[in-house]
């Protein structure tokens, strides 16, 4: 014990240790106490296991006896080695090779199926053997393929047929058996496999998931990236190859059916020959019979074609889709401005080379594998085809019997609005319009409006020689009614007017641009709509009150948010020159304050009343907007007619619908015009000649488009379908209008208007509500209207199929549908 006083030095592994026999060191025990100086090494076991009873017993037994005692060993669960059938199932004929066994790479990859037949299978296979030729191994192979072919989803029978090389009957039997067995088994594979890691990481703690891939960096980093990259490549290659196999398979199928078709055609031909049906009469008869038996399924494509060709003028115009690729790209820009040109000039076709598509002539040719578009391989259905085709149903398709002309190259330029490089004059008045500010009320001269950030309206002003003349323009003078109301067909927009005028008046008349202009001449030009004149106009309040979502949609579609100069009011640009003369009194509301607004609201209530009264009076009158010059009248007239039309046309429209089904009326039935401006007018102009059309549509032409009645007029065009929706719209603060079956979503949450003046936001919808209430209270009609709404409601559903193209065009053209 006394020897403890000093500390032993640390054990040095590199220092030689003399080895003694204990008997040589009799005094060793005296030093024993400091042996503890050597740090105790850990056993390397888990702490709590180290203390386990049997281990401790074994260790102490070893230390006591120096060796293990049989009864002191750690007990383990028993193992038996007396399997009696062992000798019978393992063959005992194996000879040890003289050399060390060396495995050749890939020698282990035997093509043996992993699936092993069980007793149940044995019974099945034995039964099947009576009918067909099948071995156990063959069966195992089939099950193996089926199992390995199934991922999350089971292999289907057709897939199974591709997978298995056997004949169909056998495949069917085995497949059925396999499906049944698979269904009954709880496991996710008939070949038991260790659970795999899930990609989403949800299996991190699943004790049955094993052998996860090591994704993180290992100690060896070399070429790790390459490994992964090449692995990915292999995966891709595999996928691609399997795709190729699929494609080939499909080609095979297609070629088979083509052969079949050929044989059938040949057969028909031979039969006809036998029957001496050289004229084709028998054939026609048979075909006719067949047509009776089986209702002809009209493919979608021809139908849309039909539609297209009847409507192609306008569609082409607003979509500004060049019909032929030869048209230089630049021209597109200008197409917009001249778009009504072809419309106004009717069907004046340019003479030119007729272009045929070889496919038109090839109708009876069997498509061979290479002239077939690839997409057809994948999508047999026309719907899928539509998805592939960006133009969808509106892609240009030729119609049999139509003549198509090439664009005329010689007329490419020379328009007053086209640039000098095209031989035009690039006149400012085609690029800019006369602009008058509301406050201060003065004419700015030529300007172009742009929408800037956050909906700000910017005016680009252009210098012209006549600026001083323009500045002297008195805006008030313009508010006088025009000398004559423009023809209905031109009533759409100022753009239309401009182009129409320019098309009807000599284009290249230099006088209008180059000769000196005086004030009166300009005025005259403006009044007669020869020149566009833009005046940011404050919308009359009641318009805003009633402002239907459509209004905001329009304002967005037309890109007409508040004008910077007009006190933040949305303004009607295109219609201004037309509208202004009718709404002179209301257009005075330029900038206004809250008080003014309050005041105006009272006026509004009055006005509503008046309007509604008037509406009652006028509901049967086939009044046109031309006859009524006041905008207030316009409003109630429109709404009245809306109500009226809903009633009157309930049955008429049905008739109309059937009549118009095939014509351009397809666009009328249950379809709201896409832009609300252009299309609506166009459609109504086309429908108006129809005798079946009820009177209301004519009013559409005159109704001011940004006026809330636009909705109504649109709805009327809609055969009243919008009507029920409309009323609900007014009734709910958060409005969602489903117009027609195209589900235009025009949601207007109250108080959340962005483009509309914020101060008005909340009240607008409430007054809209008021209107709705007033309508129900005063009109007596709406009841009927709602009653009639339900049958009307049916209309679009019935016409859905026919209208589909139109609806699609609609959605294509109205981009900003959701106004919040």
């Amino acid at each position: 014990m006394s020897k403890l006083s000093f500390r032993a030095r640390a054990l040095d592994a590199s220092k030689p240790l003399p080895v003694f026999r204990c008997e040589d060191l009799p005094d060793l025990h005296e030093y024993a106490s400091i042996n503890r100086a050597v740090p105790q090494m850990p056993t390397g076991m888990e702490k709590e296991e180290e203390s386990e009873h049997h281990l401790q017993r074994a260790i102490s037994a070893q230390q006591v006896y120096g060796e293990k005692r049989d009864n002191m060993v750690i007990p383990v669960p028993e193992a038996e080695s007396n399997i009696t059938y062992y000798d019978s199932i393992y063959p005992g004929d194996y000879k040890m090779p003289k050399q060390l066994i060396h495995i050749q790479p890939f020698s282990l990859d035997t093509e043996q199926p992993d699936y092993d037949l069980d007793l149940e299978d044995e019974v099945f296979v034995n039964k099947l053997k009576k009918k067909m030729d099948i071995s156990y191994l063959q069966f195992e192979e089939m099950i193996d393929r089926l199992e390995k072919g199934s991922g999350q989803q089971l292999v289907s029978l057709p897939e199974a047929k591709l997978l298995l090389k056997e004949d169909d009957e056998l495949i069917k039997e085995v497949f059925d058996y396999w499906s049944r067995k698979r269904k009954n088994s709880k496991a996710n594979s008939l070949i038991p496999t260790v659970k795999q890691e899930k990609r989403d990481g949800s299996s991190t703690n699943d004790p049955y998931v094993a052998f996860r891939r090591r994704t993180e960096k290992m100690q060896t980093r070399k070429n790790r990236k390459n490994d992964e990259a090449s692995y990915e490549k292999m995966l891709k290659l595999r996928r691609d190859l399997s795709r190729a196999v699929t494609i080939l398979e499909m080609i095979k199928r297609r070629e088979k059916s083509k052969r079949e078709l050929l044989h059938l055609t040949l057969e028909i031909f031979e039969k006809r020959n036998v029957m001496s049906d050289f004229g084709g009469e028998v054939m026609a008869e048979v075909l006719a019979e067949r047509a009776l038996v089986r209702p002809q399924i009209i493919p979608l494509v021809p139908l849309t074609n039909q539609y297209r060709h009847q409507d192609h003028m306008d569609l082409k115009d607003y979509k500004s889709k060049p019909e032929k690729m030869e048209i230089p790209r630049q021209k597109r820009k200008y197409e917009k401005k001249q778009k009504v040109l072809p419309l106004s000039s009717g069907s004046s076709h340019h003479s030119g080379p007729v272009v045929f598509n070889a496919k038109d002539l090839n109708q009876y040719d069997f498509p061979s594998s290479d002239d077939e578009p690839f997409s057809q391989l994948h999508s047999g259905s026309s719907e899928a085809e539509e998805e592939n085709d960006p133009d969808g149903a509106y892609a240009f398709r030729r119609k049999a019997g139509c003549q198509y002309y090439a664009a005329r190259q010689d007329q490419a330029g020379g328009w007053p609005w086209s640039g000098p490089w095209e031989g035009g004059l690039a006149e400012d008045r085609f690029r800019y319009s006369l602009t008058t500010l509301t406050v201060p009320r003065r004419c700015l001269g030529m300007a172009r409006r742009r929408v800037g950030r956050g909906g700000r309206v910017l005016l680009d002003r252009a210098y012209t020689d006549y600026d001083n003349v323009f500045h002297g323009l008195d805006p008030e003078m313009l508010d006088l009614p025009p000398p004559a109301s423009p023809p209905a067909s031109f009533a759409s927009t100022s753009e239309t007017n401009t182009s129409v005028r320019s098309s009807s008046s000599p284009f290249k008349d230099p006088v209008s641009s180059s000769s000196s202009l005086d004030l009166s001449q300009i005025l005259l030009n403006i009044k007669s709509c020869r020149w566009r004149h833009f005046r940011p106009r404050t919308l009359p309040l009641h318009e805003l009150d009633e402002a239907h979502p459509l209004f905001r949609r329009l304002s967005r579609v037309l890109k007409r948010p508040r004008s910077a100069s007009a006190g933040g009011r949305p303004c009607a640009w295109e219609v201004s020159d037309k509208q202004s003369n009718k709404s002179c009194d209301l257009s005075l509301f330029s900038a206004f304050t809250a008080e003014q607004y309050q005041q105006h609201q009272e006026e509004l209530a009055l006005m509503h009343k008046q309007q509604l009264e008037q509406a009652q009076l006028q509901q049967h009158a086939n009044s046109t907007a031309n006859s009524t010059k006041s905008l207030a009248n316009m409003l109630d007239q429109a709404s009245a007619q809306f109500a009226a039309s809903a009633v009157v046309t309930a049955d008429q429209l049905l008739a109309l619908k059937t009549k118009d089904d095939l014509g351009p009326g397809g666009g009328v039935n249950g379809v709201i015009p896409p832009s609300g401006v252009y299309k609506g007018l166009h459609l109504s102009s086309t429908t108006s000649p129809s005798p079946a059309t009820p009177a209301p549509p004519t009013t559409t032409l005159t109704s001011t488009l940004l006026h809330p009645s636009t909705t109504t007029s649109a709805a009327r065009n809609n055969n009243g379908t919008a009507h029920p929706a409309n009323t609900t719209t007014n009734a709910t603060a958060t409005t969602q209008v489903l117009l027609g079956n195209n589900s235009l979503r025009l949601g207007v949450p109250a108080g959340k208007r962005i483009h509309a003046p914020r101060t008005l936001g909340a009240t607008m919808s409430t007054s809209a509500l008021k209107l709705a209430h007033a309508a129900t209270a005063n009109c007596q009609k709406p009841k009927v209207a709602t009653a009639s709404a339900s049958p009307l409601d049916m209309v679009p559903r019935e016409t859905r199929e026919q209208d589909k193209p139109a609806l699609n065009s609609l959605s294509e053209n109205t981009v900003a549908m959701e106004v919040t």
Binding site: R21, E46, I101, T204
Partner: protein, 521 residues
């Protein structure tokens, strides 16, 4: 006792003495914990873990083997197999019985709870009682005891002289905080500090806490787990009843992630050569018609007599490697099959007869070890145990290290049997060297620890621990000496006479590969 059983509901977590036969076929009644219950054809069965016995002895027992008189109910939180305090893998239970157990049973507790030495005694100063009292009301969410509310305001608890702030635990942690012993609770509270709660990863030695709710993947290297992330109730229980391998029927010792649908089978059949698992004898027979392997699918790198070693690359021969791992997992508690087998080589020892090369045991080895491991997992299959094959495997592993010119050590943790085997091997190997030392020029023979390590390829630390274990190192007159007692020498000589199976280095045909240059494992 069966009538008792019907009257009292035994739930998971209960502890009670359970009858089992010891090796001398005597009855003993060790305390056991009920881990699970099931009913088979109307008979209730209880999965019991004998406290302080290895898990491999856990078993399903019938109710008549339970001593219901000494039943201890689990604490409220004992259902979750979380660790409490230091008891680790062993089930939590009545550590603080006075709190949860009804006073009536209180007298039972001292009788049947042989407190494990390392368990519940908190390493806290005398203030333990106060701190405990102070901690509890704060932790529990409605303060359960009115009387203790006065203690609540105490903001800090003094433990080991350091003041620790008590931060109210986050809701998700409350249960955990409640069930722990006092010292653990403080730990938990620390972890709940807002800044550390989200990212807290316990230090490696705090294995008890590593699994509290946060599933973490085990480390990527090695094949043994020392943490408890897998220690849920599923992996604590054996899931395979019986495995038939060749002529042997093995009763698995531990959980193994064989396909779940196979765990319900009374017998799982393995192909003796490719180790494929099959659900029925019929399937096995069918499989044998297709499987033409008669030896492990690798290169034979050693053969002497009927003993051969085959080297299998875990990347090249995944199927076999995985099958082997699944089988080995049945007998290795701490083996993890979390990751793939790619970075391992498997050395399978076989014994030849006319049927082929039969697997006897194996060890796996990392292709590149950062920690000088020359063995990851090592196993002698139960039918071959206690016949010297284990030592042969170990010897072979060191022979490989000798060829590589490295010292090596087995991956930790060692199992009980692993420790015994390795200690035995190290002892014999070192003693062999020491006994063979001849006096040099009439002087005392001497040797450094490093020399022993180099000769044997046994890592230095293992040499020291063995020398210590054998009590050979002595400090004598200012220097360390190695002393060989008579008992040691006698014991060694006896043991060596019994050790017939030896590795003959001449029969080894092995060239180590530099795996780091391959860029692949």
């Amino acid at each position: 006792m069966a009538d008792n059983c019907s009257s009292v509901e035994i739930v998971e977590g209960c502890r009670l003495p359970v009858l089992r036969k010891n090796q001398e076929h005597e009855d003993e009644w060790p305390l056991a914990e009920i881990l699970s219950l099931k009913e088979v054809s109307g008979r209730k069965l209880f999965y019991v873990h004998y406290i302080d016995f290895n898990k491999r002895l856990d078993e399903w027992v019938t109710a008549d083997r339970l001593d219901m008189k000494k039943l201890q109910f689990p604490k409220k939180e004992a259902k979750t197999p979380t660790k409490n305090g230091l008891s680790g893998s062993r089930p939590s239970s009545p550590e603080r019985p006075e709190r949860e157990v009804v006073p009536k049973r209180k007298e039972v507790v001292p009788l049947v709870t042989p407190v494990p030495p390392a368990t519940p005694v908190p390493a806290l100063p005398s203030s333990t009682e106060t701190s405990q009292a102070a901690v509890f009301p704060v932790v529990r969410e409605p303060p359960p005891f009115k009387a203790r509310e006065d203690l609540e305001p105490i903001p800090t608890v003094t433990t080991n002289g350091t003041a620790r702030r008590l931060i109210p635990p986050q809701p998700g942690r409350k249960r955990k905080a409640n069930c722990g012993g006092p010292d653990e609770m403080i730990k938990v509270l620390q972890y709940n500090k807002p800044q550390s709660a989200a990212v807290f990863l316990p230090p490696p030695e705090d294995s008890q806490d590593s699994s509290d709710g946060i599933p973490t993947a085990p480390r990527m290297t090695g094949s043994l787990v020392s943490d408890r992330s897998h220690d849920d109730i599923i992996t604590r229980m054996k899931n395979i009843e019986c495995i038939e391998l060749g002529r042997h029927r093995l009763k698995p010792w531990y959980f193994s992630p064989y396909p779940q649908e196979l765990t319900t089978l009374p017998i799982l059949y393995l192909c003796e050569f490719c180790l494929k698992y099959l659900k029925s004898l019929k399937c096995l027979q069918r499989h044998l018609t297709k499987c033409n392997l008669r030896h492990p699918p690798g290169n034979e790198i050693y053969r002497k007599g009927t003993i051969s070693f085959f080297e299998i690359d875990g990347r090249k021969n995944k199927n076999y490697s995985q099958n082997l791992c699944l089988l080995a997992k049945c007998f290795l508690d701490h083996k993890t099959l979390y990751y793939d087998t790619d970075p391992f080589l498997f050395y399978v020892m076989t014994e030849y007869d006319s049927k082929g090369f039969h697997i006897v045991g194996y060890f796996s080895k990392e292709k590149e070890s950062t920690e000088d491991y020359n063995v990851a997992c090592i196993l002698t299959l139960p039918p071959y145990q206690r016949r010297g094959y284990g030592k042969l495997l170990i010897e072979f592993s060191y022979e490989l290290s000798k060829v590589e010119g490295k010292t090596g050590t087995p991956e930790k943790p060692l199992s009980d049997l692993g420790l015994l085997s390795y200690r035995s091997y190290w002892s014999q190997t070192i003693l062999e060297i020491l006994m063979d030392l001849k006096p040099d020029n009439g002087e005392r023979p001497q040797i450094t620890i490093n020399e022993i390590s180099e000769i044997t390829s046994v890592k230095k630390e293992d040499v020291i621990s063995t020398l210590q274990y054998l009590n050979l190192i002595n400090y004598y007159k200012g220097q360390y000496i190695l002393t060989l007692s008579e008992e040691i020498v006698d014991g060694h000589e006896k043991a060596m006479q019994k050790r017939h199976l030896r590795i003959d280095p001449k029969c080894l045909h092995f060239t180590p590969k530099d795996w780091s240059k391959r860029g692949k494992w």
